[in-house]
Symmetry: C2
Subunit: 183 residues, 2 copies
């Protein structure tokens, strides 16, 4: 498992063996519960215990905008701020030809079906990270979604809030200059 | 001097005393030269040996756009990429009421005079950092410059190139979402 090598695994195993038997039983049950109870929301593809998930059934959220993210943790990052009040769609990855990840490996077809089923949606925000994979995934999806008659937008790239020009990389400065906005 | 405390200063002083006398004389001469030769360009206020500076006299640069920066090092940061081919104006600081730095302490009046003298300029890009001081300086200057009939723009704030949503701060994510662009 990530961050746990042979040494850590051995230490954890002996810790469980030394501890009360109930602790191991509880952990085993929790693992079974996770496997049984957590599935993908049939609407937004995020992980959930109830289907549809609490985000999709939250009537206080706008029904006209869907924010597309690569992972559940990216959804958490955007939701934490509380500024965005629309809904989400989780791709579960990014396009990466080098790693053999194509469009069929992501939850893209589900989004296309969802857009057909939800005519209220007027905008899709592509909120994948401005990395190579994130940019190419956004480009691919824009080409796919625009013909469906929905407005497709991309989160802004530029200097981070509180960032300093002097310590920013050239690519970011070039984007910040190119994407400048009239005041 | 920044980064040089009492210990470093002592070490440097003894290094000079141990070394050849000519080394100290050369350093002293270089310091005198800097003080004598380097002044501010009368056009863009950047530091220069010749007035106007090489950037202002470079005829390959666009004469219609001026990029306003806080410091000479910020100008270097933007120029390094080679994407921006306009001219610059150096403010030599940012507004900071807490530190008692007001508009009269910056080279703002010089920019206003320059805009009157250079009718070819159609756009002023405010490229101060997205820090508190940088933002308020940009806001102040936009209010001042827009009535002069010039287009005033601001560099983009958002996720840096190669940045990850998951590890970005909430303010940056909120800006990246708010400043999203239609694809």
């Amino acid at each position: 498992m990530p961050g746990i090598g042979e040494k850590s695994a051995t230490r954890l195993a002996f810790h469980l063996l030394r501890g009360p038997k109930q602790q191991s039983r509880d952990l085993a049950q929790a693992l079974l519960d996770v496997t049984e109870k957590i599935r993908l929301c049939s609407v937004c593809m995020n992980m959930t215990e109830t289907d549809p998930c609490p985000t999709c059934t939250d009537s206080r959220r706008q029904a006209d905008v869907i924010c597309v993210v690569a992972s559940p943790s990216d959804q958490v990052a955007i939701d934490r701020g509380g500024h965005f009040r629309g809904r989400f769609h989780v791709l579960h990855g990014l396009l990466s030809p080098l790693e053999g990840i194509g469009p069929d490996d992501l939850r893209i077809a589900e989004l296309v079906r969802r857009l057909a089923a939800e005519p209220l949606v007027t905008e899709v925000i592509l909120a994948t990270s401005p990395s190579v994979e994130g940019e190419s995934t956004a480009m691919y999806m824009a080409r796919l979604l625009k013909p469906l008659g929905v407005k497709v937008s991309r989160i802004a790239t530029g200097l981070p809030v509180g960032g300093e020009l002097e310590y920013s990389d050239q690519a970011t400065i070039a984007r910040a200059m190119a994407n400048r906005a009239v005041m």
